[in-house]
Amino acid sequence: MKAYNETWIKNAAIQAQAENWQQQGLLAEADLQKIKTALPDESYQPIVWIKIGLFIFTNIAFMFGSAFIGLGGFYAIWGVWAFINAAAAIFVLELFIKNRKLRHSGVDNALLYIALGAVAGCFFSIFETSPNAVVWCMLPVLAVAVYRYADVVAALALLITFFYVLSTILFESTIGKMLAPFVFMAVSGLIYALVRRKDQQFKFLYWANCCWVLEVAALILLYVSGNYAVVRAGSEALLGSQGEIQFAPLFWVFTFVIPLVYVWFSVRQKDRKLLIIGFLCSVSAVITFRTYHAIVPTEIALLLGGLFLLVSAVLLIRYLQTERHGLTDQPDTDAPRWLKLQSVVLSQFTQQTLQQAPDLKLGGGNFGGGGAGEKY
């Protein structure tokens, strides 16, 4: 049983794709309008700022409404109180979806998270002494929530819960602790492969957002589980080991090779998110290396790293003026939203640089690692 109208979701996806084709001159404006009337999406999905407002104020309204009723003495048995809250949130949620045709509009997100939180509270009142049991119980609840509401945060919570359960099993024995990185890598790789295959199928369009989030999370988890620094920190915490870890060369290989594999596949499959994650993982590989083998001080590393990025970006822009290896510099979408955020980042940056000079004067020369450099 899915909560939202599946046809509208499909229509919305087709409309978005058709709009993109229209922008690229593959469809006439009249054709696009014809498609929009023939395949309507009647659900209410406001733009992101309104969504944030709806999310905040739904939370406030529910919290105080619930507290108001709770003053009548319902607090007495808080497990029951949590259950009543969960039921109320679900009831209002279903009502809103049905009557106001909301879809991931902020209101329904807020109500779903309140309900899930209340259910967790309910389980907690039953298994007060073992928090792990609560996590076990939340696994099916989250799975149902993802299935019915196709919510991205619930999907992410499901993945994290799953890995938590996996780790509690693994960490029970020493051999499990030692094998943990490999198991985590294998499992996240499997999850990625599975979700990616589903994502390609038309009938999974309802969960397209969830698929996207799960793919990204699985790729990051796969990299993090094999990263040398993470494994070393993990083995220090779990096995009490000091200094060098076992199979160190293997983990160094993972640290550097996995990002390259990501980038290579991204170009072959024309997958943008894989490319961006691959790039970010490469950056963290370099940072990992620097953590243990710092050849140059931070400021020179920043300078050289920045120079490297600048030069490679300029060279790539030049190189991709004509299409090569299925890549191009010609834009195929409008300016993305982050471009508008540049003013915020640059304002922050200017502020810090301006404050830096007088601070240095007053502070008397102690500026190692301070200032703007730390932030970026």
């Binding site: 087709i14 709806l54 105080f64 409404g65 961006i276 400021e299 120079l307 890549l327 980042v345």
Partner: protein, 323 residues
């Protein structure tokens, strides 16, 4: 591929013909992956990393030969950057020119380097003596002029930040709350400065000069204005009759702007700051002596937050916005 499914669906419903199907299908199969915006993001990251590295490096190993060479090289790089932009940029226009040109990045690079070098000169040689204000005034004037001449929103935001810093204020979003609004003169400065600057921005908007800059002004200074005015409302109780209407006017301006440019970030700002102000006034006139008042407080938040949700669900109808 999903797009193939979509195409087949459109063909079945006879919303496109076989020729269009063929054409789009071929396009989807053979089209290259565009790295346009990713590469621009990479440029931004490179510029920010390089200039922050340079910004730290110039304060080290002072009085060595290598250091003088470094300062000289960075100065030359800055001058070359400004010269390059001047030579290659499009002529001045009052409207928005094409975004994300190469000169935009060179300009940003030069401005950030200029900022680092200027800070260093003040530190090392006390270029402006003890008048630190001048150290902010120069970049403020320079960046504002460059932003308007070369149509650069990023440099504009740097100029606004430097200008605010000159009068002693922090406008960067993460720094706003670090302003010491317990200090009354600073609080009034903040309110008057942001109100005056926003008025100028709105006047320029009205005159159709760089209308796309208004967003940046409102975003950076609007938050400062509301935070300062709310701080005034909370802390200077005797003057509530001054601050409360001021917040009201601010909300009205934001709603008007949101309505006109379909920029609903400002609607959100107006509602959140307006809600905080109104709730404060409500509880100010409220008698706290009775026990049942806590019930009323809960009821107040439940009802008003519910009202805001209702407003957001119907804002298009209520504000008369067509689709």
């Amino acid at each position: 591929m999903k797009s193939t499914h979509f195409l087949r669906e459109l063909l079945e419903k006879q919303l496109i013909d076989a020729h269009q199907y063929q054409q789009i299908e071929t396009h989807e199969r053979t089209r290259p992956m565009s790295l346009h915006w990713e590469l621009r993001a990479l440029l931004y990251a490179g510029i920010v990393l390089f200039t922050s590295g340079a910004g730290i490096l110039i304060y080290q190993n002072i009085d060595t030969i290598g250091h003088s060479v470094l300062i000289g090289a960075l100065t030359l790089l800055t001058i070359f950057g400004f010269w390059y932009v001047l030579k290659h940029a499009a002529p001045f226009a009052t409207t928005e020119t094409a975004p994300a040109k190469l000169t935009d990045f060179v300009l940003l690079f030069s401005c950030l380097l200029f900022l680092a070098l200027e800070g260093y000169l003040q530190y090392q040689y006390g270029l402006f003596g003890t008048r630190y204000g001048l150290a902010s005034a120069i970049p403020a004037v320079l960046f504002m002029a460059l932003a308007y001449r070369f149509d650069h929103r990023g440099v504009l935001s740097m100029g606004i930040t430097a200008l605010a810093s000159w009068v002693g204020l922090s406008v960067a979003p993460l720094e706003i709350l670090k302003n010491d609004f317990g200090n009354q003169p600073l609080l009034y400065t903040a309110v008057l400065f942001s109100a005056a600057a926003i008025s100028v921005a709105l006047w320029l908007d009205f005159k159709v000069i760089k209308q796309h800059f208004t967003y940046t002004y409102l975003l950076l200074l609007g938050n400062l204005f509301f935070v300062a005015a709310l701080a005034g409302l909370f802390s200077i109780e005797a003057r509530w009759w001054f601050f409360a209407p001021l917040i009201g006017v601010g909300c009205w301006v934001c709603v008007r702007y949101a309505h006109h440019y379909q920029s609903f970030l400002f609607l959100l700002m107006a509602v959140v700051y307006g809600y905080i102000g109104l709730s404060y006034l409500f509880f100010k006139i409220y008698d706290w002596s009775s026990d049942s008042m806590i019930l009323l407080a809960y009821l107040y938040f439940f009802a008003t937050a519910g009202g805001v949700v209702w407003f957001f669900l119907n804002y298009k109808k209520l504000l008369g916005i067509k689709k």
